[in-house]
Structures are given as C-alpha cells and as structure tokens.
Symmetry: C2
Subunit: 292 residues, 2 copies
C-alpha cells in the first residue's frame, strides 16, 4: 500500500494505539510521516519512543499537544509552564529521531477560561504571556510553538484562542521560527476571514502545520468528537488547501480525527481509510506532491 507522500497520520486519529501500534498501522498503510501525541510517548518513555521513531523511518510532522495555561500566576500556572517545557524537550528529541524532513513543531492549545472567570479577554493575555515565557526555551531547542485556534464552541472550556487571526496576533510578538500557527480546517472553516488570514500567516512564514478534518452536523453529544474524514462533511478542501499551498507551504499535511466510531475501528483500517479520504478530498489540491 502507499499513501500520499505528504500525508501524515496524527496519532489522535488512532487515540487508543500505543506508539508502536501506531507506527505499525501507519507503515502498513504506506505513510511516510506521523504526528505524535504526548500520552503514548510518555507511556513508552521518551528515549524508547525516539528509538522506535528512528527505526520506523517515519518523519515527525508535529508533537501534540501542550498549552492549557490561560490562567493567572499561581501553582497551576507554574505546573503548566513546567509541563510545557517538558513538551518542548519531547518535541526536539522526537524531531531529531525522525527521518529527514521531520519538523520540530509543538501544537499549543491555549486552554479555557479559569474556573469562575468571565474574563475571556484577560485569559487570552495569559496565553500570550505563557508563550512569551516559553519562547526562549523553544528557540533554544529549535522547536516551533504552533498556536492552534480552536472552534469558538470550545472558547470557554478548552481554548480562548478562537480564530487564526487571533493566533497570529499572538505569534507576531515572536520570531516566526519560534512561534507559528496551526491551520486546522475543522476549527477555522467557518471564519469569514479565513482565506486572508491564511495568506497573512503564509506571508509571515507562520503556518507551522496544516491539519485537515471535516465538519458535519448534527454534532455528537460530546462536541469534541465531531471530526470526520475529509470529504464526509461540508468543508471545502479545495479552496482552503489551495490558499495554504499558495503561500508556499510544502510540508506534511496531518489528518487529526476525534470521533468515537473511528476510535473504535481497527488501527490499520483507520490508517487505510484516512489515506483514501485524503487522496480523494485533499491531495488533488496540493501543489507539491512531495514534502519539502
């Protein structure tokens, strides 16, 4: 089997796989790249994870995910910062172990509003401050912090950064190789400012990763789980992918799906189905057929 050469399997799509199981499924379906998640990496241990990744010959596209620091100073904030510093180290180690073309990109989800707070504006400033505190460590480690805007339905409890423009407003305080942004179609497809903000991100060299995933309604009871294979929903991958490619983005494209049905499907079947949906819905709109 083969998959598109720029397709990367985000491990969140096969959430219940260990890292070795994920690697097996991805290799079996002909992928050349993987985006790791922290929990399975920590379960296996960082050194062993890096060794397995090196043995696999896969590229690393991103390491997911860290952040969750939209709170004021205090012990919880300190714990979050410390955890993010570990995530930066993990990212650097894994990227160094990955095949040529690996990118040291750590996906950052800002976090929701602190319990009892009504100050979403203030919470965003906590995110900006945390990025500022982490930026020197990221720069030192050669890691790019990729700020992910999450759909506004998660603004209160998961991520106070809701648009690509907002992510860029924060990123622009820092060097482009240190702080960038995620373009995840599920989160941003609805945004009337999307295409100009993709152009802005690209012009500034701040598209740290491009993730594809479809939106369909009705949403499931747990709105975190409503992500679908590309092509199974309403998102126009043609225009969004073309906009990303027009900026010169030429690296891996991840598929990240949170979906109870998909998580209950055998890993190799998910890897195959993901590659097929990507080939049909996304690949035709990619300008470069191999990653940079």
């Amino acid at each position: 089997m083969s998959a598109h050469p720029r397709l990367s399997m985000n491990q969140g799509t096969i959430k219940h796989a260990s890292l070795p199981e994920a690697i097996d499924a991805v290799l079996g379906a002909g992928y050349a790249s993987i985006g790791t998640w922290r929990e399975p990496v920590q379960e296996l241990g960082l050194a062993e994870s890096a060794a397995r990744l090196a043995d696999s010959g896969l590229r690393l596209s991103t390491h997911c995910r860290s952040g969750f620091f939209a709170m004021p100073e205090g012990p919880a904030r300190r714990a979050a910062i410390d955890d993010n510093l570990r995530a930066i180290e993990e990212t650097a180690t894994l990227a160094a172990a990955g095949a040529e073309g690996s990118t040291a990109v750590l996906v950052i989800v800002g976090g929701g509003m602190p319990e009892g707070s009504r100050d979403v504006i203030g919470a965003r400033e906590h995110v900006r401050d945390a990025i500022g505190e982490l930026a020197p460590a990221a720069k030192g480690a050669g890691v790019t912090l990729a700020i992910e805007a999450l759909h506004p339905m998660y603004a209160s409890d998961r991520c106070v950064v809701s648009t690509l423009g907002q992510a860029l407003d924060i990123a622009e305080d820092f060097d482009a190789d240190v702080v960038g942004a995620v373009v995840d179609t599920f989160h941003v497809w609805w945004d009337p400012e999307l295409l100009p903000q993709i152009a802005r991100a690209g012009a500034a060299g701040r598209i740290a990763t491009y993730q594809v995933c479809d939106w369909a309604t009705p949403l499931p009871a747990d709105v975190l789980m409503g992500r679908h294979y590309p092509g199974d929903g309403v998102i126009d991958f043609a225009s969004i992918t073309a906009a990303v490619e027009a900026t010169g983005y030429d690296r891996d494209v991840e598929v990240e799906l949170f979906n109870a049905d998909i998580w209950a499907t055998p890993f190799d079947e998910v890897a195959r189905r993901t590659a097929e949906s990507f080939a049909a819905a996304v690949a035709p709109h990619l300008a470069a057929s191999v990653p940079a």
Copy 2:
C-alpha cells in the same frame, strides 16, 4: 411585581406558551415589553395577535424570526422569500399594535448551507442577495431587518453568518433604518473583534436589538438548547453591555433562552426568574434606566 423597564421577554424563552399565555406571564412579572415569535402569532392569527398585544399595553421589541434563505434561486428560495415578506407584514402590524416605544424589528437568521453544498462563501452571498430582495418591502413597511450572527457552531446547518462584523458587512449595503444587526451575547461573546464591532455597529446606527443570554459548558446534546439565564455562565455582561450602551443604544433588551429545563418550567416562574437574573447580571450595566 416589577421588572426592569428596559427588559423584554423574548417569547422563545417560553416557547410552549401561546401568545395570550405569554402576555399573561409577562404582565404578571411586571414587564413592559415582549418580543414575539411567528409560530404562536400565526397560531392565534395576526389580527387577533395584534389586538391582544394592543390590549396588553406591552411594547413590541422584535418579531422572531425569519430568513433561512441561503440557497440558490429555485422554488425553495421563492418560498423562503414569500415567507419573509409575510414576516415583514407581521412585524409591521404587531409593532403598530404595541405600546409607544415599540420597534418594528424582524430578526433574520440567514440559514445554513444548502444540502450537499461545500460553498459557505457562496451561501453568504445568497443571504446578501435575499436581503437585497426584501429591503424594498421592509422599507415600505417601516420594518428593520435585523441580521443575526449565529455562533459558528451553527454555521453549516442554521446560519452562515457567524460574526457581528459579517452581519454588518451585509447590512452596510443598505440604509441603516432598513437593515441592521442583532447583538446576541450567546452567539458573539467569544469573538475577539466583538467590542470594536459593537462600536462599529453603533456608530452606523445598526444595533437593531440587543439580546442577552449566557453560555455555559458542557453544551447539551442538542447544541441549540445550551442557552442560560444571564449570570449562570461565563459571559461578561458588564463589558458587552457597556459597549452597547456606549453607542447610545437605549431601547429594550431581550432575554432569549432556548433550554429544555427552562421550557419545562411554568411560564410565570420563567418570567420572574428571567427578570431577577436580568436585574442582577445586566441591569447594573445599563446607562439608561428607561427605554428611549
């Protein structure tokens, strides 16, 4: 009992009440204003509804709701336009029957993407075109079409207009007394551009109605039903209300709640509880204590 003089009960909050039942509940709790819904008005008949409203001595704040025309030309589009023309007539008739200070404002929900479509941008243009087709009739009837931005989680299936800025971009093609925008806290609280867009709307005289309702998580299984009494969630009514008032907005403020628990509560209890939550969470931030 008395309620704040600028508080209006949006009939959607007591969805299962007939118009006479709604009027009774609202008068019993000391309100001076009501926002009607089309279904109970049509159930009673327009003439009888107008008579009941006139007898009640209540003001009309808005008539809800119309729109749902984000589709290309064809029979469905024609039917939607015809239905909207009827809604304009209803609004004019009810506003004329309401007490002094009534406003002839028809709330417009653009509608979701057509079945099978992936063209959200095109769907928005269908909304703009429909507003253009309705504007002369609205102007002739003295009715303001109030474009409502719905939360982006409804972008595919209910409303392709997702931000206040986007609503204003459409409204600005028309006279301010003919096409305005709704500011509904539930839908727009998360928007990083909210405060400047409220200022923009106010400066252009386009805040057609201000609706308050709180956001809390987790969202219910039906995400339409996650609206809460002001104060029961994360929305900062102080800053948003102050921004609306700073524009000179001095008319009624509606509470519109879709919530299965609230809909299952006796109407008079809902009316009382709504007035109490409004008094505690919103009224302190109103500049003018009586409507213009």
